[in-house]
Amino acid sequence: MAVESGKVTSLIVEASEYPDLVHRYHVSGVPKTIVNERIEILGARPEEDFVRTAVGATSTLAT
């Protein structure tokens, strides 16, 4: 997604090394993706579902 769009950034975080982030984002399983600090995507999801949820997070923010 980050390669596709200049508006997307992607941080891959090794959870066990950063317990503060795990605590902050309530990570109890992986993979877990946090979109714009507030939307959670749990587990590995089909691509279209994942992209739709992530993009949807921005429109939710705008309203």
């Binding site: 390669v3 596709e4 950034t9 941080l11 891959i12 990570v27 993979p31 992209v51 921005t58 429109s59």
Partner: protein, 141 residues
């Protein structure tokens, strides 16, 4: 002693043969209070040796905080994967196990400038008006 086995190195070299453009790995590290910094540096050095198109730049996080901040990096070990442009792809923590494959995937994507996403996904992203910041939490196993 090498972290990558001979057979893994051969496979990785083959995968990296799919790169078309150079990629810079900008690596921020520190020697104190960072157990995974040194092995991360070793993995990256071994990886960079497997392709002429990969350049590894090592920076001292404590001495080059401004540079780190410029890349949006506030903790170590951290790797920025940069191609002809900066797509905002960063790795935090040691890239071992599954994360190592994710790093190789990221290198290939950045090098070739093609996300490989389905047309529907590309269309959705083309219409983006606001930024999306993804933080993907993973573990090495």
């Amino acid at each position: 002693m090498a972290i990558l086995s001979q057979s893994d190195a051969t496979k990785v070299r083959e995968m990296l043969g799919g790169m078309s453009q150079p990629v810079r790995l900008v690596f921020f590290t520190q020697s104190l209070n960072c157990d995974t910094c040194e092995p991360t540096g070793q993995i990256l050095n071994e990886l960079a040796a497997l392709s002429d198109l990969i350049t590894l730049e090592e920076h001292n996080f404590l001495l080059e905080r401004d540079d780190a901040a410029g890349y949006g990096i506030g903790r170590v070990p951290a790797i920025a994967v940069l191609g002809a442009e900066d797509h905002g792809i960063r790795f935090f923590g040691i890239p071992s196990g599954y994360e190592f494959m994710s790093l190789i995937d990221a290198i290939l994507l950045v090098s070739n400038g093609d996300s490989g996403l389905a047309p529907e996904s590309r269309a959705l992203l083309a219409g983006l008006e606001s930024p999306i910041a993804l933080q993907v939490f993973v573990t090495p196993t």
